[in-house]
């Protein structure tokens, strides 16, 4: 039986305006969770809003039985969620979905995160660090204050290349632009990423950014995986509301369910609208 956990809030920290890290006691979920998976969260206790909200698992502490979420207040559900304090109870379903595949130990790992997209990739970076794999992390945000967890990521052995839309830190532009330049340079100068390399890209962020990322890596011939954000109903594959277009099937394009077939898909399989 998969748990519907009534998780106790351990603590909740606002780490920037509208951005929260929520620590929940849910040992079974912590135990089972893999990077890229999500929990389906009941944000309030009344019939409005009605549906759960999908939130990536951002980190776990298996010893303490903790599941940690990192989220941005986007609307009513997440606003309610942010009102929870230590001792409150939140209903969680999970871990759900198909996460990131774990890279081979000798692989060249490139992580591209836009905005809140760092949420699940942070967990991914934690987990590969345990296997002593280090990654190049391209971290994009609107502005310096929203470049979250740079130091923590560096401390676990990864390299971080930041970008900001307003140029307040690092590369001035989007993280897709930054990554494109990086890949182009690699190509030209025989640099670190080449066709045939055992490189792999892991991306999460707004869909515009992921579409660009997919184009860039397709052109460069690098495989990759991206995590999609679809509106979800059930989260368990029953309602067919999270349909997203993927290559395959009889007509070359078929609907797949982001909640169980994803949210992480091989970049090359996604059919962008």
């Amino acid at each position: 039986m998969s748990p519907v956990a009534d998780a106790k809030v351990i603590k909740q920290n606002m780490i920037a305006p509208g951005h929260f890290r929520l620590y929940l006691f849910a040992p079974e979920i912590a135990e089972a969770a893999r990077p890229g998976q999500f929990v389906h969260v009941r944000c309030g206790h009344t019939l409005d809003p009605l549906l759960r909200r999908p939130v990536s698992i951002h980190a776990v502490d298996r010893e303490k039985g903790e599941v940690i979420l990192f989220y941005r207040v986007a609307g009513r559900g997440t606003a309610l969620l942010s009102k929870n304090n230590s001792g409150d109870t939140i209903s969680l379903l999970g871990p759900l979905g198909h996460g990131f595949s774990m890279p081979q130990s000798h692989a060249r790992v490139l992580v591209v995160a836009g905005g809140i997209g760092i949420a699940p990739l942070y967990f991914f970076l934690q987990e590969i660090a345990v296997s002593e794999i280090s990654a190049d992390v391209f971290l994009g945000a609107a502005t310096q204050k929203q470049l979250f967890f740079m130091n923590e990521i560096k401390e676990s052995g990864h390299r971080v290349v930041p970008s900001t839309d307003d140029g307040s830190t690092g590369y001035h532009g989007t993280v897709a632009d930054l990554f494109e330049e990086y890949v182009r340079k690699s190509d030209n100068q025989n640099g670190p990423v080449r066709r045939g390399d055992d490189a792999k890209v892991y991306g999460c962020g707004p869909s515009g950014m992921l579409k660009r990322l997919t184009d860039i890596i397709a052109a460069a011939g690098i495989p990759g995986e991206v995590s999609l954000e679809e509106r979800m109903g059930c989260g368990v594959g029953a309602c067919l509301s999270c349909a997203c277009k993927a290559r395959g099937g009889k007509n070359g394009v078929q609907y797949r369910r982001a909640c169980v077939d994803g949210p992480v898909f091989p970049a090359g399989e996604v059919v962008w609208e």
């Binding site: 039986m1 998969s2 519907v4 009941r42 019939l47 409005d48 809003p49 009605l50 549906l51 759960r52 209903s91 379903l93 679809e230 509106r231 979800m232 109903g233 059930c234 989260g235 368990v236 594959g237 029953a238 309602c239 067919l240 509301s241 999270c242 349909a243 997203c244 078929q254 609907y255």
Partner: protein
């Protein structure tokens, strides 16, 4: 009295259910999706997602919008078609001991008849629910459900093609649901289920266009409960067929409202998305209610509010 376990079993037009709690078509997949969360054998029956003759890819996305205490959906009957349903989905349910009710939808009367025929030959089907009320498909669907004569024709065609119990699922999007129910009863339906979703719409004010890819959608969830209870109440008074009540049931209290209004059984739909164990909570709550009220037999509850 409180020591005695009440008798929860019901007979819905020939479908024997060990308790009155089933699932609403399209909200519970084909069974495997929710089997990690509950023991399917504890359900009175399972009603699976709507099946058509040929596979359907469904409607364009977005297909779901949240509304106050409800949701709008425009899934559009995405399903693998009856053949693959029989070969791929049915076997899973064969391992369970509960009636499998298959929800069927067609573009023409013949489609319905053919579906009924094919499913009658498959093993492991316990009944058919005829969906003449889906607001999310262009052809057929609600058209059949909003015209009493058409509804009757579909019912007759299905009855002629199967020996299985036939439940006809009614649409609330009509001037008189009783008029449709009466014709469907005359045409030989064994039971009725109600309500399908209420036709609705939401508009994205940022994009200045409808939220759903299919523009209109079907409203379900707690918001529609009063409409559904009313439908059951009205039909129970006029038509002597067992009713599966549904529309916004999230708790046992909700389910009991339907039973008091006239439902023999109840189906949990949208609430599954919120609480995967909603059917079990409803079941346990009904049992407690019967105990507390000293009612030995669930049948005694059906329509009781009509008698006050």
């Amino acid at each position: 009295m409180s020591g005695v376990k009440p008798n929860l079993s019901v007979n819905v037009g020939g479908i024997l259910m060990k308790n009155p709690v089933t699932t609403a078509s399209g909200t519970f997949g084909f069974g495997p999706e929710y089997s990690p969360y509950l023991d399917l054998n504890r359900l009175g029956a399972i009603v699976v997602k709507g099946i058509t003759l040929l596979p359907r890819t469904g409607n364009p996305t977005p297909r779901l919008a949240e509304t106050p205490a409800g949701i709008l959906n425009s899934i559009g009957l995405q399903n693998p078609g009856v053949e693959r349903f029989i070969s791929e989905a049915l076997p899973f349910l064969a391992d369970y001991d509960l009636p499998v009710i298959v929800n069927i939808a067609g573009d023409t009367v013949d489609d319905y008849a053919l579906l009924a025929e094919k499913l009658s030959r498959a093993s492991g089907v316990g009944g058919l629910e005829v969906n003449i009320s889906c607001p999310n498909v262009k052809k057929g669907g609600m058209q059949f459900g909003s015209d009493p004569a058409m509804a009757a024709e579909v019912t007759r065609a299905v009855k002629a093609s199967t020996g299985l119990p036939v439940i006809v699922k009614l649409s609330p999007n009509v001037t008189s649901i009783v008029a449709v129910a009466e014709k469907v009863a005359e045409a030989g339906a064994d039971a009725l289920s109600m309500i399908n979703t209420v036709l609705g719409m939401a508009i994205d004010i940022k994009k200045k266009r409808p939220v759903l890819g299919n523009l209109l959608g079907g409203l379900s969830g707690p918001a529609v409960k009063p409409v559904a209870v009313r439908a059951v109440w009205q039909v129970y008074r006029e038509v002597k067929l067992p009713i599966i009540g549904m529309g916004g049931i999230t708790t046992a209290e909700d389910a009991i409202e339907f039973i008091l209004a006239g439902a023999t059984a109840v189906a949990v739909g949208t609430a599954n998305f919120v609480n995967p164990r909603a059917t079990m909570d409803v079941l346990e709550g009904i049992e407690n209610y019967l105990c507390e009220n000293g009612i030995e037999n669930i049948d005694e509850l059906t329509g009781l509010a009509q008698k006050s």
